[in-house]
């Protein structure tokens, strides 16, 4: 498990540099507020581009207080979903499937 809350922490400084983004915490806030002004500048357009492959602009930043608590919240929700399913009993179909496979094997 990575990070205190189990939610993966930010990229290492080396990795961040590779992405070529040296912005500070200021950039995160300005990008966030700019997102709501359509077409304010080229930067904003980049933010809105639905291109999933681009490197995010604030990847490299050390998360501030708000970011850390939000990341912790997201991490808890992710694990809640995962653990919720893990706690469900094994559906009967899988028990039957494995029994059938085992029985078939024994007949050989």
């Amino acid at each position: 498990m990575n990070g205190k809350n189990g939610f993966p922490g930010p990229a290492s400084p080396g990795e961040a540099q590779m992405k070529g983004d040296g912005g500070g915490g200021r950039r995160l806030r300005s990008a966030a507020s700019k997102r709501h002004i359509a077409g304010a500048d080229a930067d904003t357009k980049m933010e809105n581009r639905p291109d999933m492959q681009r490197a995010p602009r604030h990847d490299s930043q050390a998360p501030g207080m708000i970011d850390r608590s939000l990341q912790a919240q997201l991490g808890r929700q992710l694990r809640a979903i995962f653990e919720g399913i893990e706690e469900e009993p094994v559906p009967e179909r899988f028990v039957r499937l494995l029994e059938a496979l085992e029985a078939r094997e024994k007949q050989r």
Partner: protein, 188 residues
């Protein structure tokens, strides 16, 4: 020795809850997830000779499951893209209907992540794999996993609008965060 003897069945049974959790997190759909788990169990059973004893059975099963899922995705890419497009539109129109970050919003946002990013996030952030193990399950470099995880986190934060105080409702759990971000000022 019969490799298909009791212990294997028990080991597989024991890993089913973990596999199901991974499958549901990956595809966001319980029925499809259970089909993936079933296919994974069948493939594992029938190709047991390719499993190296003493290595990590869980990682091997996860690898089979994610490979099955991604080849499935490639096969129905068009259909999936259409559906994701519609979901994205819905999310854009109705962000956080409850006014705060609730579980339903989170699930929806998780399902909207590109599958490779969602996979990396779930493996590392929920299933407890190390970056190295996750990289071996996904068949990519460790750096790729790290950057996918980071992009997934950024994307989730963006989609859920949690960078901006105005999208938080006034409930007590988020009040503190709002206060810290905007000095307590609530936007109209």
């Amino acid at each position: 020795m019969n490799i298909h003897s009791g212990p294997l069945k028990q080991a597989l049974l024991g890993l089913i809850p973990n596999l199901r959790a991974f499958a549901v997190s990956l595809c966001g759909d319980v029925e499809r997830a259970d089909d993936l788990v079933q296919e994974t169990l069948l493939k594992a059973w029938n190709h047991l000779e390719s499993f190296q004893e003493g290595t990590n059975l869980r990682a091997w099963l996860f690898t089979i499951l994610r490979n099955t899922y991604f080849s499935d995705c490639r096969r129905r890419r068009r259909e999936v893209e259409d559906r994701e497009g519609k979901k994205a539109a819905e999310l854009a129109i109705h962000p956080g209907q409850q006014g705060h970050l609730d579980m339903q919003d989170f699930r929806r946002a998780l399902n909207l992540l590109p599958p490779d990013q969602r996979e990396a996030l779930v493996l590392v952030g929920a299933a407890g794999f190390s970056y190295e193990e996750a990289a071996s399950v996904s068949g990519c470099a460790v750096g790729t996993i790290k950057s996918r995880v980071n992009r997934a986190r950024t994307k989730l934060t963006e989609m859920l609008g949690v960078n901006t105080p105005r999208e938080f409702g006034p409930d007590s759990s988020t009040e503190a965060i709002v206060a810290r971000t905007a000095g307590g000022t609530r936007l109209p």
